[in-house]
């Protein structure tokens, strides 16, 4: 028996070594299996908890009808636009606050105050100001992304050793070049962390916003499904959220982290 288990284990190790993607799928197998068993045992009524097969079928039909690709695109574009502006405004603001004592004194309390209000808390007033539309959604995403980016950029800028500033200055770097040569790369690992947090929060805020003000998107799909009592589509929406985030993290964020902080020895293990 023990020999047999060891054999299976060694097979698994060799398999995942050859195809690393299996390693990232494998942890989900028991989860899906458990889900499948629970639904097959009919512990809950099918209407309340459909099985994996039904969700896959629903995925197929929604893709076939073109609803899912269109909604997916809407959600991703909204997140991308929001993230872009969040980063484009957040990094310069973070560098300003991180480098300038006066800016820090003036802005830091404000940053903490507005961070605490939170994205969703703005929705009621935003809906009154901008109505049920893209502007409201974008503002919420930008608002959500910008704080983690700013706060982490400030942290990154302030954690650069003063000797690096001094070294660059005594090698003839001007103030402007210091930004590009020292401040930005020095803060980059923290900026990526901020971006990761910001996108994660932004993604959640987007779904919440779509549920409340949306006319399309994954959040809207789920909320719409609730109205028609289609638990299958709600589950499908939840699964898509998870998969999408997994893709963003492992295909975009993790490679950036590997290429920057880890190679430079700023991040260890």
């Amino acid at each position: 028996m023990k020999q047999f288990l060891l054999k299976i284990w060694s097979h698994c190790v060799r398999l995942t070594a050859r195809w690393p993607s299996i390693a990232s799928i494998a942890p989900f197998i028991p989860v899906v299996a458990a889900w499948w068993i629970v639904t097959e045992l009919q512990l809950f009524p099918r209407v309340f908890l459909p099985g994996p097969a039904e969700v896959v079928r629903s995925f197929g039909s929604l893709v076939y009808m073109g609803i899912l690709p269109a909604y997916l695109q809407d959600s991703i574009v909204r997140l991308a636009v929001g993230a872009f502006w969040g980063v484009a405004l957040g990094i310069p603001l973070g560098i300003l606050v991180g480098l300038n004592q006066r800016a820090r004194t003036a802005l830091w309390p404000l940053l903490l105050f507005f961070q605490a209000i939170g994205d969703i808390a703005w929705l009621p007033i935003l809906v009154i100001w901008f109505g049920y539309g893209l502007t409201t959604i974008t503002v919420v995403i930008v608002y959500t992304v910008i704080f983690p980016v700013v706060l982490n950029t400030v942290l990154g800028v302030r954690s650069i050793p003063i000797t690096l500033h001094r070294a660059a200055q005594s090698l003839g770097a001007s103030r402007i070049r210091m930004l590009w040569e020292v401040v930005l790369p020095g803060a980059l690992p923290n900026i990526v962390t901020g971006l990761r947090n910001g996108l994660g929060y932004g993604w959640r805020a987007l779904i919440a916003t779509e549920i409340i003000v949306g006319t399309s998107g994954i959040g809207f799909l789920m909320f719409d499904a609730r109205r028609s009592g289609s638990v299958v589509e709600i589950l499908l929406g939840m699964i898509i959220l998870g998969i999408l985030w997994y893709i963003v993290d492992s295909w975009i964020l993790a490679p950036i982290e590997r290429a920057t902080g880890q190679r430079w020895g700023l991040v260890t293990r």
Partner: protein, 252 residues
């Protein structure tokens, strides 16, 4: 390379916790000729790093003047290269890019500044390490990069702030010998800060002993070059000079 003149330099700052003025550097005057290697030696807290930081322009001085080639120092600048105790290499730049940094800031074209960097890397026997990142090197190698990075920018004065204090004893001896060799080849004007009396005597043309922010004495070192630890370890003149400097520093 140009000479350096320090006249009646002093540094006083207000300590808000004690509520009093503290004088870290007291009326220090020093003249370093072009191509001279001067070591400033003294115990920790004697003000030697403060003096170096003022010469580098990292902190303002509160009295006297600092002249490099006749021009007063106002803030940091490429005419004064600095080698730091903590190496201060840019972690996101390769060894080659670190050494080419100064020329790059001067606007030297990429091909030319890489040629310069390679030349200086060869001087410190670092050719193999050109494409690596600082984090991938040992401490001794990192500081070799630190030294040639400062030299590659051809500063008028090279300021070294206890550069070998954070490497192991064997590596330190090798680095000291290499530094004397490089100095003989390029003849930069060097101000070298250390608390290690033997290091100071080994490296310098002249040792300035410092205590409590004041210059105690100025001792010429007439040992022949090239210098090596093998030759100097049992050298009577080296022992005599080291003994004198040590006595000075300890007696104060």
């Amino acid at each position: 390379m140009k000479d350096l003149t320090i006249r009646n330099l002093s540094k006083t700052y207000f300590d808000p916790y004690a509520g009093t003025n503290v004088t870290a550097v007291h009326d220090v005057s020093l003249k370093v000729e072009q191509g001279e290697f001067v070591c400033i030696v003294g115990p920790s807290g004697c003000g030697k790093t403060t003096i170096l930081n003022m010469i580098a322009g990292f902190i303002p001085h509160t009295g006297g003047e600092i002249l490099v080639g006749g021009r007063p120092v106002k803030g940091p600048g490429p005419d004064r290269g600095v080698v730091f105790q903590s190496f201060a290499l840019f972690p996101w730049r390769t060894v080659l890019e670190n050494v080419a940094f100064g020329p790059k800031m001067r606007g030297v074209r990429k091909v030319e500044r890489e040629r310069i960097a390679h030349e200086y890397l060869a001087l410190a026997k670092l050719t193999e390490a050109a494409g690596r990142y600082p984090a991938e090197l040992s401490g001794g190698m990192q500081q070799r990069v630190g030294v040639v990075r400062a030299l590659a920018n051809e500063p008028d004065v090279l300021l070294m702030d206890e550069p070998f204090a954070s490497v192991d004893a064997q590596t330190r001896m090798t680095l000291q010998e290499e530094l004397t060799r490089i100095w003989q080849e390029k003849r930069p004007t060097v101000i070298f800060i250390t608390h290690d009396v033997q290091e100071a005597v080994f490296l310098a043309n002249r040792v300035v002993a410092l205590s409590k922010g004041r210059v105690l004495d100025d001792i010429a070192v007439d040992l022949p070059r090239p210098r090596s630890w093998d030759a100097l370890n049992d050298d009577a003149r080296f022992k005599e000079l080291s003994g004198r400097v040590l006595q000075l520093v300890r007696s104060a």
